[in-house]
Amino acid sequence: MRPPFAVRLAAPIMALCLWSGPSHAGPPSGPHDQLTIGLSSFPSQFHPDSDPEAVKSYLEGFALRPVTAFDVGWHNTCLMCTTLPVLDTDDVRIEERPPGLPGMAITWHLRPDLKWGDGAPVTARDIAFTAMVGRDPKSGFANTRSWGKVESVEVIDDQTAVLHLDEVSSTYDQLDTLLPEHLEGQIYAKAGGPGEYLRQSLYNTAPTTPGLWNGPYLPIQIRDGNTVVLEPNPYWAGEPPHLKRIVLRAVENTAALLATLQAGDVDMTPGEGMGLSVDQALTLARTQPNRFDYVFKPALTYDHIDLQLDNPILSDVRMRRALLLAIDRKAMVDRMFDGKFVIADSWVSPLKPEHSDQVAHYAFDPQASRALLAEMGWKPGSDGICVNEEGQRLSIPFAVTAGNKMRELLQQVIQSEWKQVCVESVIHNELPRALFGETLKQRSFQGAVLYSWLFNVTGSPRQIMGSDQIPSEENNYSGTNYAGWRNDTIDQDIKVVETELDAQLRQTAWDEMQHIYAEELPALPLFFRVEVHAIPKWLHGLVPTGHNDYAVLWSEQWRGE
């Protein structure tokens, strides 16, 4: 008797399907020579200056070094330069530009021993090339952090370049990653139309080309859309990397990532928003305290509630203060996050040198909240929700991104606490693309929206507080000052922190902005998150930084013992 057709078909189909290409990487030589890192996302492309993605920065940190970075002590340091440019030296000059406005000339000195992964030297021509591509409107770059303000570059010699900036900038001593002119130069020259360069760049068409990278590790395999294998760069001139192989594997469901970590298929998960969710990491730390070294690192992710300041109810600062006074942020942090999160007074983290403590603090005080509401004429109605003399009900729409478990939980707690002081909040959650793509962008929200911002170590708050950044038809809905806050002093202070070279004057502006923010409360500050890193006990030398110059920038110091 012959078996059914499907059975007869099964064997050849399965044999065909099981075929896979050869694995190019051989086994590592020792038990702790290989580190497998589990990530919850994977970059969509590998060009360092295209879409900003945290996971891409993390991954490329092993293989591509920026010229400068903030270290674990939050100090700006040279990674590829010999010294940082310093004010009042020949390396930093104020110069007059043709329109009669001041600009800057910054001299950078590259380390002479730097090489790309194919042995070609890293030179000042790479700086000039990167600046040229970076300021080309047709390049399609989104990351203009360093290059947008560079007007021209003078190449003095192989290691020295002078960057002419089109304005005086307080961040003149920071420089991003470079592109290899000897590989990308021809591609850029041949690329015709807008965005063509990014499409033809080797970073996207052949990302394992060694000459694209200059860090201690090179990506030797990128496969399956979820795995990158890195091995030491033979031309790396710094401290030789201790690990012989680093594997990055994305498991995009964090429940599965947690199980994969517990199964030992991955050795560690980083914080930095790329590993486990905070609640998962806290649970793991509680249930398996000795399995990993858990590092709780305060970070720059700022959770807050934006308020629609065009809403007459919310335009009164007393209302905003009443709402914040009614939220028990300490209890939230203690009960939901094991006391690890840091309560915020403004958008500036206490970890940042610009932080000021001389601002208004709003400890949980429901009585004070009720008193403020009464002062504004809001009295509790028959169902406990306040009404004013016109009979208007104190009701505020309240949104978070639907499906974000942590935010939905916070929202419910806040809703309950606001109800205690007679404020009704009506939950109206939306999917991220609807919330960020339309509701916030068009400023069509009527009440409160809880979400977070991730800030750099330095950088002005223009995008979230500048009055020129209120999304509107005029600016093509590009700004991110969603609350619609306008304050002339803030606008002036933003200009100062962006362009003033005197550190003391900049700090005065920072202090003033934080003071005004805490008084005016254009948004309700909640807390700064803590990132939880689960690190294997055998791995040493990994010190999380807590900011977006990740610990991977010093990965040559990681060693297994």
Binding site: M1, A6, V7, A10, I13, M14, C17, L18, S20, P22, S23, G26, P27, S44, Q45, H47, D51, P52, E53, P137, K138, A142, N143, T144, R145, G148, P194, G195, Q221, D224, G225, R245, V247, R249, A250, E252, N253, A255, A256, A259, T260, A263, G264, D265, P432, R433, A434, F436, G437, E438, T439, W453, L454, N456, G459, Q463, N476, S478, G479, T480
Partner: protein, 316 residues
Amino acid sequence: MRRFILRRLGQTLLVLLVMSFVIYGLIGLMPGDPLDVMIASNPGASPEVVARLRVIYGLDQPLMLRYAHWLLAALQGDLGFSRTHSQPVLVVLAPALWTTCKLMLISFVVSVILALGLGIVSALRPGGWLDSLISLAAFAGISVPVFWLALMMILVFAVELHWLPASGRETVGDGSLLDVVRHLIMPVATLALANTGGFTRFVRASMIETLRMDHIRTARAKGNGEGRVVLIHALRNAMIPVLTVMALSFGTLFSGALLTETMFAQPGMGKMIYDAILSNDFNLALVGLLFATLITLLSNLAADLAYAWLDPRIKL
């Protein structure tokens, strides 16, 4: 037969054309545009940069004009670039397509074999203890969420027993056939179990009905053994309605293995289409969905051809 196939292929092209218009329009109607994702993660992107990028990606043009440009290029063989990957759409899709085909074909074959066996056994003694047991298992398979099943499998076989790897396609540095098979067992089992329950119920119902027909009684009266009666005379007839269900599920499997792919870190078409839609990657989402449509249409065509093979009385 040839005319039938040509006519159906012509209809397939027409459906794909209409679907491309509908999908492009629907994606365009969704809130936001591709650059919103970029802005949300990059508060430093100035309005000038955003405006410049809109022009570069053609987002300053009306939706229908963008569709017309895409269609014109597609007719010349250029399916466009993926904005998020900065790669031609087919280059991005090919590895995902391969992963999905592998998962889909193996799990489909496994589930069909299991369903045939269980469905036939169940139909031979309807109401018996074995039938009840199989029915219970089938309903459990239909009811259990794929997400939960996948997670339980990982916890049991990877975390507790350490028999199988939790995720990925192969161990870096190994890549042997055995290693690849070990990585495939759990995702295939999850997908197969999820489908087997439904298929089993269809096979059972169809077999019970067929076994009551006159020609089966005749086959038995002619002295054929029970095995031959069931597998040759009954199964062939019973498969006709079952094939329709399997053909329809084939397309669903193609684009709907999102959870399995995500849980077991085997990025395929389901995940790619999902990500493309979320990030407003118009070209990638469109071509991915068109592939899913094409597979569904072709699997239905294959089912129609199989009807004729199973029952020569059916004229195509």
